[in-house]
Symmetry: none
Subunit: 389 residues, 2 copies
DNA sequence: CAGGGCACGT
DNA sequence: ACGTGCCCTG
């Protein structure tokens, strides 16, 4: 029996928008860790890996591992029936032949119940090799999307070159050549913008304990970002992509942290309670509600924007890194790889899911493009083209 | 070697939007005067003449005249990769087989470098005959666009009739007939602020100072407007690029005259126009405020205003008249001509480039439609249809 | 001014 | 699916 409650149906909408063109049918693998989806794209060139952590749900229960074979198009049709701010509950029983979806408007008095037939999909669960990446680039997702969109006009392949000086995306085609160069923002983790906001909140220390102090370090905030994070990121990219083991501090903090803290503060409330209100002031999740009214019309927005501000309380750094326009490059070794723009363009459809995107590259190895969000992440892998000239 | 820097990439975007449907490939003729483009439209019916003055660039250098054969579609693709506010630099070396474009975001750290292959286009450089136009109409570009757009729905041809009373655009087709009449705004530039939309040509009875009686002014203004003001309208069309030859002759009235007047305003008048001075003062004072308000509401406004000073550097008043919603008609002789709406509709794509458009007409002679902006202008020429019934 | 949503049309 | 135009918001 699976029962998972998502506070905002919008998340699922965005995920489906992001992935549906790459993958039309896939298994949602549910375990007590959360829900994962892993699949090759239809042309078997790229790999998509979605992870929704248990902690990303306001309620989560999965008695037994189960694989739900879903037609993404069908699921999308149904999910579109939910309001962006509806509370979405997924439910499946042992039979695994049907997925029930429940949409509840926040103000109640409107309930949608849907059932979707499931299908059998034989899933080739390919392990993703552990890789230590030579270059990691952390940039605004919109910037990445823009570059890819632009270059797509001129050619079919992008060459991505990373060096100390910056990242250079280039393409050429019939009409000419193009290149866009991004210079890294100041090396240090310093964020140029006003981090003042985050200060207002409570314990930044808290995260330490969550982290398990795997990395003993004094000034975690900036450090982890620039310094120690990269190995972790790579590590987390292993086959089960988010193995609970030694996950990167950064992600964990952003997600688990907030959740746990939530519970801690209020003694593990799973559901909305009056007290929550108080917490909300500081919390990320709550903030969304506020947003909602504003967002109601727009439909989108809330998550990302609220994140930046609302999240700040906890990991100041996490909030910051999410919102800034910085370009960060972490480089072990210069890298130059060529990829099919078409796929990158598809990956970029995940832009609405996160403020920033992380590119991980090593020569000769598939590129990893990651969009991390509060409840989990989407990762894409794409093998480079051979001719890197 | 050509190197030209445009402060706002947006200008080039707009130009390409405006022209690309009429002309798909054309030579950009670069000289130390600036950059010009002249071409027949694809069906060889209309003529397009673009002029970007050297002074329109924040930096301009052209050692040697050169003709860059450009595919406008390709150029547009590339220019779309620039942000509207990016600084755009065009560069071409002697080889003239490639045009380099550099886009720099104002805040830096993002640089786009593009190269476009050039082509050989044998250009028939047709001289544009000097013409003294019998009728000149100066009206808001949006108004013109609106009329053309509306009439296009009903027929394929527009008849444009200009008389003392105003301009009348009419068309007819299967479903019926249509006509829009614009009455010239009150002589001295009075403008009713209350005009609702551009759509309706308001037949204001504002002959008097209805707007703001606050300004009691001598009648002479009106007359002089009628009498000698028209030259001013012409004046806004700067010295002509298109027909550099013998402007002296017939053109003198429309063009040369205006030039002189320019000077006249500043110092002494070359030609008798005693009232002129007075007129200016009159104009300047009363209506100004109102107009401004109206313009702001429209939203576009500002940009073109600069033209006034850049182009002519005349009085402040000129700036004012540029942004107003006034319709000015300068008439030597009544004119009635018929044109293909399709072309006018294409010309109207230049609307984003300027607040106002100037129509110059004489019987039996091609219509000249001009959009003047800070950095230069675009002119279109279109021969009338024969049946002027 | 830029970005994002939305409805539209190709 | 994608590009476009329009409107609104930050």
């Amino acid at each position: 029996m699976l029962e998972a409650k998502l506070e905002q149906a919008e998340l699922l909408k965005k995920i489906l928008d992001a992935v549906k063109e790459l993958v039309t049918d896939a298994n949602f693998d549910c375990s007590d860790e959360g829900i994962k989806l892993q699949a090759m794209d239809n042309s078997h060139v790229a790999l998509v890996s979605l992870n929704l952590a248990k902690t990303g749900f306001s309620e989560y229960r999965c008695d037994r591992d189960m694989s739900l074979g879903v037609s993404l198009a069908s699921l999308q049709k149904i999910v579109k029936c939910a309001g962006n701010n509806d509370i979405l509950t997924l439910r499946a029983d042992e039979s695994v032949d049907v997925l029930a979806l429940l949409f509840e408007a926040k103000h109640a008095d409107r309930v949608g119940e849907y059932e979707m037939k499931l299908m059998d999909i034989d899933q080739e669960h390919l392990g993703i090799p552990d890789t230590v990446y030579d270059a990691e680039i952390d940039l605004p997702a919109t910037e990445f999307a823009r570059i890819i969109r632009d270059l797509k006009e001129l050619g079919e392949s992008v060459k991505i070159e990373v060096s100390k000086e910056g990242v250079r995306f280039s393409a050429d085609g019939d009409i000419g050549t193009a290149s866009v160069t991004l210079k890294p923002t100041d090396k240090r983790g310093r964020r140029p913008d006003s981090d003042g906001e985050d200060s207002d909140e409570e314990e930044e220390q808290e995260d330490d304990e969550d982290d398990e102090a795997e990395e003993p370090e004094p000034k975690e905030e900036e450090e982890d970002e620039d310094g120690d994070v990269k190995p972790q990121i790579a590590a987390s990219g292993d086959e089960d992509d988010d193995a609970p083991k030694s996950k990167g501090g950064k992600k964990r903090k952003a997600v688990a942290d907030s959740e746990e803290e939530d519970g801690a503060d209020e003694n593990g409330e799973d559901e909305p309670s009056p007290k929550k209100v108080k917490k909300e002031s500081g919390k990320a999740k709550p903030a969304k509600k506020e947003k909602k009214k504003a967002a109601s019309k727009k439909g989108k927005a809330s998550s990302a924007s609220s994140k930046g501000k609302a999240t700040k309380g906890k990991k100041a750094k996490s909030g910051d890194e999410e919102k800034s326009m910085d370009v960060r490059i972490n480089l072990q070794q210069a890298v130059a790889l060529t990829f099919s723009i078409k796929y990158l363009s598809n990956f970029a459809k995940s832009t609405p899911l996160a403020e920033r995107v992380h590119l991980h590259m090593s020569n000769e190895v598939p590129l990893l493009v990651e969009y991390a969000f509060e409840q989990g992440h989407i990762r894409y892998y794409l093998a480079p083209k051979l001719q890197d000239d």
